[in-house]
Amino acid sequence: MPAVQETVERVKRIDVDQYRYGFETLIESDKAPKGLSEETVKFISEKKNEPAWMLQWRLEAYRRWLTMQEPTWARVDYPKIDFQDLYYYAAPKPKKTVSSLDEIDPEILKTYEKLGIPLREVAMLEGVEPKPGEEDPARRKIAVDAVFDSVSVATTFKAELKKAGVIFMPISEAIREHPELVQKYLGSVVPTSDNFYATLNSAVFSDGSFVYVPPGVRCPMELSTYFRINERNTGQFERTLIIADKGSYVSYLEGCTAPQRDENQLHAAVVELVALDDAEIKYSTVQNWYPGNSEGKGGIYNFVTKRGDCRGANSKISWTQVETGSAITWKYPSCILRGDNSRGEFYSIAISNGFQQVDSGTKMIHLGKNTSSRIISKGIAAGKSQNTYRGLVTAHRKATGARNFTACDSLLIGDKCGAHTVPYIEAKNSSATFEHEATTSKISEDVLFYCIQRGLSQEEAVGLVVNGFVKDVLQQLPMEFAVEAQKLISISLEGSVG
């Protein structure tokens, strides 16, 4: 059988039912009544002891949402969602207030253990050579704010962060403890009226992370959050807000896995980033939610709004994502380049297999003078999946000297999948320089045979070729994550070739 044919056969046989992270934790949970109404919104706000202004904000969003239509322009196909048939809030029932890891439900900790998440202090990776100019990885630390369903249950490294003046806490806490910051920035990048899913999120968001880095501070560690959906039929509405004040720097890592489900699960997160003058935010994601079974049943619907605002001059926001999971991905991490000389970056690896549908890309909106942006997108489609890159690059009239470079490469494995590139490019002034490159290729039978003749198995050969294909993007990930991502790519390829 020709090598590619064999790969195709194996892809057909994939059994995503064996999804590695498909297990469920049995713990009691505290749910809002099914369906969405002003009552639900009030229930959530009350559960979180929110101040009146927050409830008002939610209710306004809810009322706005009632007037909005679900968008249909993306190249994704799914049965209509009954928004009244979902639960909008679920929290693990606290037996008592948790103040340290020891007090957390052992069931929850066990779940994290199975996922291999470094909840305990320092994550040390062996055999990784530090990049020039970077310190020894063994001495670098990762602070983990673990989100279990909707409530943050553990926060580590709080003390050290506090010493640096960095605020890193669940957003529900920040609403109570730092209302002035939250009120000033929440919804300032993604307004409550932004789009159907973002508006829904604004009304019912449950929890997420809040980060504030004060002026001139370089955050002393990587910040990391793991999201995990665990409650059957529960919509997950994370809300994350990161503010890098003048001259500060922060790198934030987000990783996701979810247990296997029969029903589709809706996830509509909002992430807002604000970078003031000379500040830099690096936001990295590894997304590995349940993609559905081999017949395309189940899996997560992932409708996410992620946007960064380079509000200050010389600011920089960089998005890096490795997307391997979810039945449907609808996600466009974007940058508004408002400050003069600001810079936006988007590095993406999107792998789709089975019946997965990915419609992802970015928007680079150049408003300030001499702003620049860079987009590197690598899409890999296997099985019967559809993988679309959708991107907008626009320079407004006053954005003189705007520059963009875009490269979109797609790799196809087999002949039942599809790769699509939908770039929108708009230059409203004559001094903008935009470059766009796009390629689509099939994984070559000759290349696979060459590797196999040298002793690699079919699976190792595909893994090697794909890891080479995505190398430019992998290099953008923080070191600890790059290793994890490489493993994840191999794991998802294990699934794709048998």
Partner: protein, 251 residues
Amino acid sequence: MMALLEVKDLKVRVEEREILHGLTLTVNEGEVHAIMGPNGSGKSTLSHVIAGKPGYEVTDGQILFRGEDLLEMEPDERAAKGVFLAFQYPVEIPGVTTMNFLRTALNAQRKARGESELMVPDFLKKVREVSKSLNIPQDMLKRGVNVGFSGGEKKRNEVLQMALFEPSLCILDEMDSGLDIDALRIAADGVNALRSPGRAMVVITHYQRLLNYIVPDVVHVMSRGRVVKSGGKELALELEASGYAQFEDAA
């Protein structure tokens, strides 16, 4: 003594068309065999079938490697057993450094043979030695496999792999294609350095020229899917003088 490679009455089809019509060939350890013949005589098909390239249907005959049935093995198993094919057109693998590729492949073979992985310092030492003898600069090893390599560099990279993996059977498919005289000499010197009593080579070529550099023990002439004549190295010279036409009729 058991032959290293025995091809017996091999019949091979590609897309319903028979290319090899009952080919027989025996290669012993330590021997260098040249297979010559015009375009379309089935030389490359033979090399692909021995290596296990997909897309060929063996309808009859046998290939034994040290007495084992090679056709029952996956291509990667054959590699681990010591079958090496130097490609006529080595492929490019962007984003995978040559060094990484060499190490991954070598360790995959060692693992398949139940051997331990080669330690990094030992591996690097070995690569440096071999690449130096082949005039391969270190920075070439840091580039993507064959990406942006010249024709000569690609062929030297093949010889480098041959030296590293230490196969017992090397099949060189049209190694001279696309090489100028100097590049050919360097590659051929590399190959000659690998001649050893425990290793056999099958050198596939159109032209006698290559055989001035890699001098064979046995020369076979292929025509229309069969070996039509075998002899010593002087047969190659004879062919150079009189051409393949005489064998077209014989086939």
